[in-house]
Symmetry: C2
Subunit: 221 residues, 2 copies
């Protein structure tokens, strides 16, 4: 919908602000991999755990609102939020007419320095058993599926691993995200052509030193 009539069924001369407008919020499933487990950062909202979120301010993009909420509630910045979908069920928020734009974002566990009394990562398996606010359980499921799709055929698009890394470290990351073991041979064959070999080897490890790789600057990112 654009210029001309604000809505076909109504008088075109009325100003935009004459019509009722919803409040618009953003809620973010902030995912991380901690201790080989895919986890989501939860904050406390009233009596229940919830995803971090905030209301959209005037003149602000959704992306900026997400970054602001994560900065304020989790003390992190420099991320790359991705829209999932809008939740719009009429009665979903008891305070009134509120739309929520669900987002996914990802942060390396080492960058997470949370005030543990406010926010803490929870393994997504455990999160499923918690009494989360409203549609937040569904948002987490959407976020996990979206992250799995992003990692399905790319080494580390977000990126989560510090460079350089070995193929085993990359596979361990993928297994945490996928929630299952992956075949070693097929994983090598798919990922190695997508990485840049540094020529260096890991040192101080148990067996044969592993080759160290970097992410290849990727057209698809």
């Amino acid at each position: 919908m654009q210029p001309k009539h604000p809505a076909n069924s109504e008088a075109p001369s009325r100003a935009l602000t004459d019509y009722p407008r919803p409040s618009v919020a953003v809620d973010t499933a902030l995912l991380t991999v901690a201790d080989r487990a895919l986890s989501v950062v939860l904050v406390q909202s009233g009596d229940r755990p919830a995803l971090p979120g905030t209301f959209l301010h005037e003149g602000e993009t959704l992306r900026d609102a997400v970054l602001r909420s994560l900065r304020v509630k989790c003390g992190i910045s420099g991320l790359e939020p991705r829209q999932l979908r809008v939740f719009d069920a009429p009665g979903r928020d008891t305070r009134g007419w509120v739309l929520s734009v669900a987002h996914l974002d990802v942060v390396p566990a080492r960058d997470l320095t949370l005030d543990a009394s406010l926010a803490h990562p929870t393994a997504v398996g455990s999160a499923r058993t918690l009494p989360l606010m409203y549609d937040h359980a569904e948002i987490i499921e959407l976020a996990v599926d979206a992250l799995r799709a992003e990692y399905a055929d790319r080494p580390d698009p977000r990126p989560l691993l510090p460079e350089p890394f070995t193929l085993r470290e990359l596979q361990t990351l993928h297994e945490a995200i996928a929630g299952e073991r992956l075949p070693r041979d097929a994983f090598r064959r798919r990922m190695e052509p997508l990485l840049t070999d540094t020529g260096e080897l890991s040192r101080g490890t148990r067996g044969k030193p592993a080759r160290l790789f970097r992410r290849t600057p990727d057209p698809r990112r």
Copy 2:
């Protein structure tokens, strides 16, 4: 974001309506297959072609707003809109602070009875050369990609074909959506197990009569 504080950084006691709120619109890429070409329905908005859209009314879901706009502008109903994403660039609408939730919907060409002076289907290839409103060109690209993904591994999820249909009719549909020829053998092998054979044959056609199929009630829809 939910109950408790409207936004962490502001006084929790103020009412939702004390904060500025955006107008929320829906815009829909209504796709169809006409004359073996994937097409999008365009309406005239001021001096340019545009996608049909409207503003969201109070107490209305996004889905209902999409259905209302398509009923009013294109005279069709009974569809299944799917959210693509929210467009929120601050200056995208000259009338003020307007978010638009882009949608995809699909309609069989035979159900399209448009007032040609108001709305008409345009092949997506041609639509790319038109000076569309705002972000509507991008919405069409998103919609086409989404539709291709829906049809990539399913016979006719939307559904577009009248039953019963032959494998060739199904393949012609898929080729229109994919925008390219598909290999006959591989197409058969993938699709036939996903269809229900009616046991009937086509009649009055040129060569050997073809078997007629129906869609199999599908767990994935």
